[in-house]
Assembly symmetry: C2
Homo-oligomer: 443 residues x 2
């Protein structure tokens, strides 16, 4: 009997919110983004709900106009390490940019987190899409989009090489003979590439997962190719089920063409369920969210996707203007998605702006309705699971109490953690070290 | 009535040991350096003993001949963040090199740790002394010694500037008006220096300490000047009380000449007490340590301080050869100290090698003897406190149980933590943000 395919669930810890206005909810702590007790509480709740992982997003540049959840945030690796100490089973996925970090430092940080957590680390590989990030790192220019992905591939390859620099049994620790390491099993990487030159070995023993799990969130063509080649799980933000299915099929097929078969990446759309005990309750909660949203916020969203284009100069209630060419390569996928949506229902600027600011999505309803919708996405080729946001305070608790048991009853979600490591709980195996593979083939 | 001056105590978490051979002790876990439960246990024990801080050292390059405690180690900021979640009062001091990191990333990591720990972060600013570190970071050459200190000064200044980029009340969070930050109180740094160009602001709210505590460990002339100017606490490794007093007087006087008065840096020598319940017990424990040491280890220590000079080519029992000029600028202070020691007692190569590998120090004895020796250093101008190593498993426990109460009875050490933050527990005040100072002066 084969094991039934299970929904993967992640929870994104986003402090004050995921939108410009979430923080204005009466029950939000405006300092939530640097409130560790709150992070701990959410992490432990997600673990109680048997979630696969926690996810921490990131960015590296702000100005006084940035969204509140960008302005103030924990550095991902520090907060995930702290959470590792107060959880036991849940995966810990941190976003870290390849554009302004050294592979040696990144490899260490994740290996260290993997040791601290006994095998629960994951890296969401991003390239930083805010172009003024360069100014915080002494660079004249942010690398162009395609260049960033070339850097990303080489950075990741270097980090993964460093993670293999200690074989499983390199640390001998034979007290009688005084042999601490076996020098044959401790490897230099000697990577000499275009963007990085790194000798190795890493100064930390092979970690429990060997290779922390790789996440990615490519949306553009180049980004999708990168994800298809390198990612074990993909976090994406489709606007609806149709878009999700197209993305799902496209990414799986790209990966398949690259020779991946049993190890196609998991596709995990973001979802922001609003669970109510009745339909009316759910709708009322959604309206609480809508009430927080201002047209300013909507316009902010809109212009961010169109290279800071000023939409106030138009009549907001007229049909959407001709601005196709204003998006730059960094935000092209977002602007294209918006244009598609606008054309579909011939929306005005005001309509699309407000919709962008308060996306409703498919997941507003009673626990059964929400479970049905998740199941529908999962079973109709839209996803392998979800990364959940908490659009309103208290939603994670409601989800864990009321939706998780339904998914469990339906055999769609685990009753308990099956394994020690994040990788194994996802159904992935612990990779054999490349040098051990080499030795096996040679021997 | 003025408060009696108190001993500051730190504990260095060093996993398998502080020497080449410590790991061979029968009770050492050979994987101690990446064993988080052990780190947690030691951290909680040090906190039970009311220690001021935990300290984590670091280095960025290994080869198969490196010392076991260099080969395998946690990355400092991740492990300290994890410890922040399982302790409540103790300071958390992490070593991070300025030579291969970006000020923006470093500022964030420590600010994040300061938030997670509610005000307990400290940064030990180092420049990385192993010259082959460059090869792990794509650099042709490790910067020269004096250049490294110039980089260090600019890096630190940049990080401290970023820590001030949010004023105390920059995060407004007014839900009614929708004002999240006050743009007047969120500052760009616009640092444009020789080595770094960083715009800011930092993407994390001002942390509880405002400015995490600055540690340093300068030994050379340049290093001492750096410490005198920038450090709030200095970790040093004098061979004996005489050397400690010279260092203490020198560093305080350098700081005084730079205009520091009430805020001279604390001088904290490393100490590796071996506490026994009787004198014989203590001596027997010290001999356990000696028995672990090999001449190979001693020679390894020696040649490391003399630019990898091969001492095996001499008769090990002859007087020390003429090798003054072999130390390079990175290890000049270590080699000079060794030469001084050798000349004092006309030691052979074997003698100095074994002595280097198993330093005895002043702190082997009964709890009263150890307390007496610490008090003697503290009261005779040798130190403001100590950073304790654990030369043998179980020593921290013995120290907390037997030595701490004696120091407390004598009024030399705190009965309990006095404040919330590390900075305040050290007797330092929370610095006023530079922009608030400016405004006060202008207003
Ligand atoms: C759901 C989702 C989450 C993302 N999270 C982050 C993030 O935390 N930090 C970041 O720099 N970029 C993040 N990105 C941006 C992606 O890394 C990527 O740059 C973006 O999707 C644009 O795709 P492209 O780079 O392939 O054009 C995210 C994207 C998506 C779709
Ligand atoms: C007690 C002590 C601890 C030190 N810890 C570290 C460390 O953890 N990492 C590091 O790179 N250097 C460390 N150093 C080296 C110092 O940063 C410094 O490079 C060294 O003392 C030589 O001094 P100088 O650089 O002034 O010549 C330490 C030095 C001392 C004395």
């Amino acid at each position: 009997m084969t094991q039934k395919r299970k929904i993967k669930l992640g929870f994104i810890l986003h402090g004050v919110g995921r939108t410009w206005d979430d923080w204005r909810h009466p029950e939000r702590n405006v300092r939530a983004s640097t409130n560790f007790p709150l992070y701990r509480k959410q992490a432990q709740l997600a673990e109680k709900g048997k979630f696969d992982f926690l996810f921490v997003a990131d960015s590296l540049s702000i100005n006084e106009k940035s969204s509140p959840h960008y302005l103030n945030r924990f550095e991902p690796l520090t907060v995930l390490s702290a959470l590792a100490a107060v959880t036991d089973h849940i995966g810990l996925v941190g976003t870290l940019s390849v554009s302004y970090t050294e592979p040696f430092n990144v490899a260490r940080q994740f290996a260290s987190l993997d040791h601290i957590s006994h095998g629960r680390a994951g890296w969401n590989v991003v390239t930083s899409w805010l172009s003024d990030t360069a100014a915080n790192f002494g660079r004249k220019e942010h690398p162009a989009h395609s260049e960033r992905y070339r850097i990303a591939a080489e950075h990741l390859e270097t980090v993964q090489g460093l993670w293999d620099s200690w074989e499983d049994d390199a640390l001998v620790g034979d007290k009688a003979s005084g042999v601490f390491v076996n020098p044959e099993k401790l490897h230099r990487l000697d990577h000499a590439g275009t963007h990085f030159q790194v000798r190795g070995p890493l100064n930390i023993d092979r970690s429990p997962q060997g290779q922390p799990v790789i996440f990615q969130a490519g949306a553009s063509e180049t980004g999708r190719d990168f994800a298809a080649r390198h990612a074990e799980a993909v976090f994406c933000g489709p606007a609806d089920l149709e878009e999700a299915r197209l993305y799902y099929a496209d990414l799986k097929s790209r990966a398949h063409k690259l020779g991946r078969k049993d190890d196609l990446p998991f596709i995990l759309p973001g979802a922001a369920p609003i669970v109510g005990l009745t339909e009316e309750d759910a709708e009322a909660r959604y309206q609480e969210l809508v009430a927080l949203t201002s047209i300013d916020t909507g316009l902010g969203f809109l212009s961010r996707s169109f290279n800071d284009h000023d939409f106030r100069k138009y009549d907001l209630d007229e049909p959407f203007p001709e601005v196709e060419h204003i998006g730059n390569e960094s935000n092209q996928s977002a602007s294209q998605r918006i244009l598609k949506r606008v054309r579909k229902d011939n929306l005005s600027i005001r309509q699309i702006a407000l919709e962008l600011a308060t996306p409703r999505g498919d997941f507003v309803g009673t626990p059964t309705q929400v479970a049905d919708a998740l199941q529908n996405w999962f079973e109709s080729g839209g996803s392998d699971g979800f990364v959940l946001f908490e659009p309103l305070p208290g939603q994670l608790d409601l989800f864990v109490q009321h939706v998780v048991p339904i998914l469990q009853e339906r055999g769609l979600f685990r009753q308990d953690y099956e394994h020690e490591t994040f990788r194994e709980n996802l159904g992935l195996s612990i990779p054999v070290n490349r040098y051990a593979v080499g030795r096996k083939q040679a021997g």
